[in-house]
């Protein structure tokens, strides 16, 4: 499917689409590590000029990894909706950016367009966009999903409550769940990364969350983030599985390194839907991704870090997930070096996911060997709030004592809801009011000595 014609701008030439996309990408350490980055700032902008003239159709017809070699490519091409694509099918990448920013690109138009877009198209246009463009367009993309509550409505922000514990100690996990609920977190999901990926450990944690959810009637969903095969196993044993989790990436080879196939994901989605545990909706999958994942598995197929990340969203999209988030700074400085690179990547990932119709959230995070700190996280968190991000992560004090990295805290989510006037998922907000956690103005101001709070405390004592 290669046309063979090189791309050029002034004295610069780019032999193929893969190279052009890589060279046009904003600077990041992962592309330098892979030897794919532009060799100068001038070459980078020249690549963007050349990319702006590429027809969107060419991004559909020239596969970055051959169709016969890669099941992600096959999924992208086989599932492409030509009718949905029609309104923009004659545009170049540069035209597409212009159009996305106009008032013609309404939320309704973007929603209908999504199935006609491919990861390569959205990645390409993102490379021509400034941060404010990424924010402005993403804000127009409303992707709403539901299980026991409704996530992604404009003007709302949900939070995954992440109560991890280094040994999965039930009392320790319960204490963190309680702390999060009292801070208004947990409407996206109460989601635990287990220290041990075993069916027994998964069942125990699922039962723990399910008990508190039922006892105090919380309109939210639970997830234990074990491997998809573990989830399939415990569903067969009638464990209370709400959402099935899996890490995914943008090439077949990278997904194989995670030990997954498309058939496994389809089987898991069917099984979870069959349990009929959702009340207001039936989105049952939860996926995590992150720039650098494919390269770190040596499975990036020569594609730049940002484009191959966008391909993971095509995988996600197929299984109608409730939640998808990029774990944007987790992987380390060899992929995203500093706060600037992490910020850019977070905005790109959110934009690309939303444009493809994926319910995008973000784990705004960093490790201690990256050039980043809480101020950088505050900045990205605020920008994503402005961009209409579906959900963020809430970890006690932003310090994940199991995974050893810093994410955002329950307090951070409260800050973001306050400064931007964002509300929790409607069903969850009603519950928070009933529990005297939200005050009459919709702020999180829990009554610690109220009867509702005492009931919660009593539960945790029993856990």
């Amino acid at each position: 499917m290669q046309t063979g014609a090189p791309f050029s701008f002034e004295r610069f030439t780019f032999p193929d689409l893969k190279t052009l996309l890589a060279k046009a990408s904003p600077l990041r350490s992962g592309d330098l590590l892979a030897g794919l980055a532009a060799s100068s700032d001038e070459e980078r902008v020249a690549a963007r000029f050349a990319l702006a003239d590429v027809p969107l159709k060419q991004l559909l017809s020239e596969a970055l990894v051959p169709y016969e070699d890669d099941d992600v490519t096959r999924m992208i091409i086989d599932d492409h909706d030509a009718d949905a694509f029609a309104p923009v099918s004659s545009m170049t990448v540069g035209d597409f950016r212009n159009w996305l920013l106009t008032d013609d690109a309404t939320p309704e138009a973007l929603k209908h367009l999504a199935p006609g877009l491919t990861p390569e198209m959205v990645a390409a246009v993102s490379k021509l966009m400034r941060n404010q463009d990424l924010i402005a367009v993403a804000k127009k993309c409303h992707v709403v999903t539901a299980f026991r509550n409704t996530i992604g409505l404009p003007g709302h922000l949900s939070v995954r409550l992440q109560p991890n514990h280094p040994t999965d100690d039930p009392a320790g996990v319960a204490a963190s769940i309680l702390d999060g609920l009292m801070h208004g977190s947990g409407d996206a999901v109460i989601g635990i990364n287990p220290a041990t990926d075993s069916p027994e450990a998964m069942i125990e944690l699922l039962k723990l969350i399910d008990e508190v959810r039922e006892r105090i009637d919380i309109p939210t969903q639970s997830c234990v983030l074990a491997h998809v095969t573990t989830a399939i196993d415990v569903m067969a044993r009638n464990a209370p599985v709400d959402l099935v989790f899996q890490s995914i990436a943008g090439t077949q080879k990278a997904n194989e390194s995670f030990g997954i196939t498309q058939a496994m994901l389809a089987e898991a989605e069917d099984a979870a839907k069959g349990l009929k545990r959702g009340t207001v909706g039936h989105n049952v999958m939860y996926f995590e991704t992150g720039q650098g994942a494919a390269l770190s598995a040596d499975a990036h197929e020569g594609i730049d870090q940002q484009t191959v990340e966008a391909r993971a969203y095509a995988v996600a999209r197929k299984y109608s997930p409730l939640l998808v988030n990029t774990v944007v700074g987790f992987i380390g400085p060899e992929y995203l070096f500093d706060g600037k690179q992490i910020t850019r990547a977070g905005l790109e990932d959110h934009f690309c996911g939303k444009l493809l119709g994926v319910p995008m959230g973000c784990d705004v995070c960093y490790t201690n060997h990256a050039e980043a700190d809480q101020d950088d996280m505050d900045n990205l968190l605020t920008l994503l709030g402005v961009a209409g991000c579906n959900f963020v992560i809430g970890v006690p004090g932003a310090d994940d004592i199991m995974l050893n990295y810093q994410s955002t805290s329950f307090h951070d989510a409260m800050y973001l809801r306050s400064v931007l006037g964002l509300q929790p998922a409607p069903e969850f907000a009603a519950w928070l009011r009933k529990m005297e956690i939200l005050d009459q103005n919709g702020r999180t101001r829990p009554q610690l000595d109220g009867q509702a709070a005492q009931n919660l405390l009593a539960w945790s004592g029993a856990a």
Binding site: L32, A175, N368, P396, I401, N404, M414, Q447, D449
Partner: protein, 257 residues
Amino acid sequence: MSNLTNKKIPSGLDPWNTLRAHTDARIGLGRVGDGLPTERLLEFQMAHARARDSVHMAFEPNSVRDQLDGLDHTILDVHSAAPDRPTYLQRPDLGRLLDEDSVAALGKHAGDFDVAFILADGLSARATHDHAANTLKLILDHLGESWSVAPITLATQSRVGLGDEIGAALGAKLTVMLIGERPGLSSADSLGCYLTWGPRRGRSNADRNCVSNIRPAGLTPKKAAKKIAYLMVESRKMGLSGVALKDNSSNPELIEG
């Protein structure tokens, strides 16, 4: 949660404080509006500062050398192909290769050894400064006379894979690398140990055994040394390391055996 702005609960009698006993997670921090109370904010900043300082602290091989004074072993300094910390952090591939001088230096000491010990900075020079020499001495105490030990190397700007190059250059059957781990917010001085049978370029993590979280507040150097010595004995017996080598060191019968 005595600061949780509910004036009706007297400080010290806040029932939510009891939750903190169940986890090291930062729960019950209190609030000022939506934000963190000043003391909690600064506690976090201090923890992060310590972790960052550990990552960026320059490795001082001589301070480790001094701590090894009295051991009857040659000690060599080696350096990876990553010339400085910024390069090291962005180019893990260079941290796995030796620089030219180190290749030459190791070549002069090549032989046929049972084991090569490598003390390496990794992502926390502080962990290596504080715990590596002590842990090594404790391991040596567990080993009998039957082990021929290669010169001990002190490796700067090193990744785990650098041990494969060093072990191969020295002609060692097994490498035991003590290396600073990526610091967590509450564990800036954590040391890791990697055992690799048949070290050579291209070994993967599945070929290694890892003993993690070695620090006084985690797995103590004394307990770690016992575990590592056990794994060394088993590795030599079985002629392998990695997923096929299980750590049964907590089984007393096996240790005696």
